[in-house]
Amino acid sequence: MRAGTKLLALCASALALTLPAAAVSQAAELRTNINADPAMVDPITYSELIAGDVMANVYEGFVGLDTEGNVIPALAESWEPHEDGLGFRFKLRSGVKFHSGRSFGAKDVKYTFEQLLIPGNRGGLNAEYLDTVVGAQAVKDGKTTDLEGVTVVDELTLDVRFTKADVLFPIYPFYFMDAGIVEEHGADWATKASAGTGPFKFKAWNLGRDVQLEAFADYWGGAPKIDGVRFLIVPSGDTAVSMYEAGELDVVYVDTQTIRRVLKDPQFKDEMLTAPAAQIRYLGMNQNLYEPFKDIRVREAICIGFDRDAMVDGLYDGAAFPLYGQVTPGVAGYNPDLPAIPYDPERAKKLLAEAGYPNGEGLPPIKVTDTEPNKNDITYYANQFSSVLGMPVEVEIVERGSHIKRMNAGEVPFFPWGWSAGYPDALYFLSQVWYGPSTYNRSRWQNDAFDALIEEAQGTADAKARYALYNKAEKILLDDWGTCPTTVRMQVALVKPNVEGVSLTPFRFLPFGDAQVTE
């Protein structure tokens, strides 16, 4: 039998030898995975995570992150708030070159902002950060292409004015682009040229196969030590880890379904990077759509009616933490002192009985809704609430696009969901998910005191004072059981021993500018 397998292996390797040599991996190219094609590779329409993974290596904003996930200056060297608090003056970094060789300056920032807002351009996620800029609406409406509130003072000085205070503006993750690129390459430049200042230049995108970046020798932070980065498109997380195991990938971002395989296999122990994801997860309860949710006792019963620790161990193999607030660790303004939310089925039953639903009697049927990849989570919730609380809960698996539309419209009564931070400040979570007027307030929880605190925080430049406001607002949300915080996932990545300088932060990988591949 053993001789047989050996023979087969021999035959197979002989076959492999007779075939033309495989594309020999270049020693200094870093190969990593993304789980789908990016939807775009240009900084204007940019609107999704995978495109962000690629583009973070090509484009930069005012600030960047260090290896701990803290904000550090990037293309802006410094900034000063205006006297009235309604704007900033940015001093930009000198000596920064675009991939085209042109110098980076204030005109490029203004150009980027305008391009994001011009209606025909379909500006993506970054356009939302410009809402408070003076004149943004006029550009959005197509009345002008000149953004009034942004002034080029001199080559490296930029003035931005707001209609209302926006203290976090400098840390918004913009991708500044080369104002000369369209003139040089035409409107469809995005897949032909590279318009950023980042450590890598866009080289090629082979649809369904890979996106290739090459090192930018004139990078202001020093030329990368590798020749380039190749993002291989590998939809299955399991396949990606197998490719890593077989030496076809150097760095792998492990998807949640494959974390178990990585954690259980001792060979990966010394090659693993972990960091909590900057993503809050919660169980949304829409009080407008399900009468019993209006009773705070019912909301509390639900929040203490499932076992976060069991979920962490059973569903996520320990690659998660219980979450007791609505800000994640590693994000500025996180409150580490929040009390744990216990799993207390007895109290939950008592609360339900007090609310008039002893053993769940009288509760109308309800569905807990999510998309296919999270089917295990909702199966757990449904099972838990029906067996512990006697609540008639059923599982509903839906298509993602229409689910998001219904959630944004406030039409989903009961759903677990998450929200990933776009920049490292608690305001991102609090102002987008729980602030009354926000579209992303998907369970439509509303509290005037909370909203007032958020508005105050948006105008509070002092970080300490602002964090205090966050904590106060968060407490209002939690005391009202306006939401059930659930868990924070742990991100897991694998890095081959011959690769150095790869950092995983709560905001996924840092750009690979410091990476090194040795033989």
Binding site: Q257, R260, K264, D307, D313, L315, Y380, N383, V395, I397
Partner: protein, 288 residues
């Protein structure tokens, strides 16, 4: 020695069983199929655990004396789920067979008997569906209807009935000019009677052969749709989905994909062997 290929009545008489028993493959196949069918019918009554009961504290158990095939990500008993999954597979395949045999034979007979525009209409429809590769058409239908058990049944029925219709039509055309049919037509027997009394009994054997071979295809197609994520959905267990979920845990918890693959594989072997055997026995052209 070789029987006339248009034997007027395919009587599966006593020599059917004799020949059937002599076919080794058919015997192995029928034993497996009998086992699978019995498990699907009575298994769910005997399984020790509730196949949809979640217990995350007991997830990922390796096989032991309580959970004979271990537990899955949510702590559900794999053995119970496989038994129930078998029932789902059989319900789907039997439903598809029932639907396609009914539609296929009726339309096929009508096309052959009436000819003209009826024939043209039926056969052009058949041609169009045949123009799509089978699974691709099923995927399209499944995508339109959204995932679910009924979807899978409809999708697979839509790709499978044209084959039956075409087979029926060609068989009936072969009979059309037989003396006894001509006689019946001349004597004014109504069409539905001719079809029921004269056509049907004479085409039953090849249809059975076709159906028995088709079961394997249907079960595998159902598993493939589930594997691709557009088949039957949770919490209903299906082998295809169990294999898909299990494959990503192949290294840590091989029991998940292994037992489901075995169940699917053994069932497929059973139906394939039975189909082959029935063809050898019932098809008058191959007797040796």
């Amino acid at each position: 020695m070789a029987a006339p290929s248009t034997s007027q009545t395919a009587r599966p008489g006593s020599d059917f069983f004799l020949r059937f028993r002599r076919s080794r493959n058919a015997m192995i196949g029928s034993v497996i199929v009998a086992f699978v069918v019995l498990m699907a019918l009575f298994g769910p009554l005997l399984t020790p655990h509730d196949p949809v009961k979640v217990n995350v504290l007991a997830s990922w158990r390796a096989p032991d004396s309580t959970h004979w095939m271990g537990t899955d990500a949510l702590g559900r008993d794999v053995f119970s789920r496989i038994v129930l999954g078998g029932r789902v597979s059989l319900i789907v395949s039997m439903s598809v067979l029932a639907v396609t045999l009914t539609i296929g034979t009726v339309l096929g007979m009508c096309a052959a008997y009436f000819g003209g525009w009826v024939d043209a209409l039926v056969m052009r429809t058949v041609d169009i569906i045949f123009a799509f590769p089978e699974l691709i058409f099923a995927i399209l239908v499944a995508a339109v209807l959204g995932p679910g058990t009924l979807t899978v049944i409809i999708a697979l029925s839509m790709v499978w009935w044209p084959g039956i219709a075409r087979l029926t039509r060609s068989l009936v055309l072969g009979l059309r000019h037989e003396m006894f049919i001509e006689a019946a037509i001349v004597s004014g027997t109504p069409a539905h009677k001719i079809m029921r009394r004269h056509f049907l009994p004479n085409i039953v054997a090849p249809l059975i052969v076709r159906a028995s071979i088709g079961v394997g295809f249907i079960i595998m197609a159902e598993a493939t749709l589930s594997f691709l994520g557009i088949g039957i959905q949770e919490p209903e267990p299906t082998w295809g989905a169990m294999i898909r979920d299990g494959l990503s845990q192949l290294r840590t918890d091989p029991h998940l994909a292994l037992f489901a693959s075995l169940a699917l594989g053994i069932t497929m072997i059973g139906f394939n062997l039975l189909g082959d055997g029935l063809r050898d026995v019932l098809d008058p052209k191959v007797r040796n």
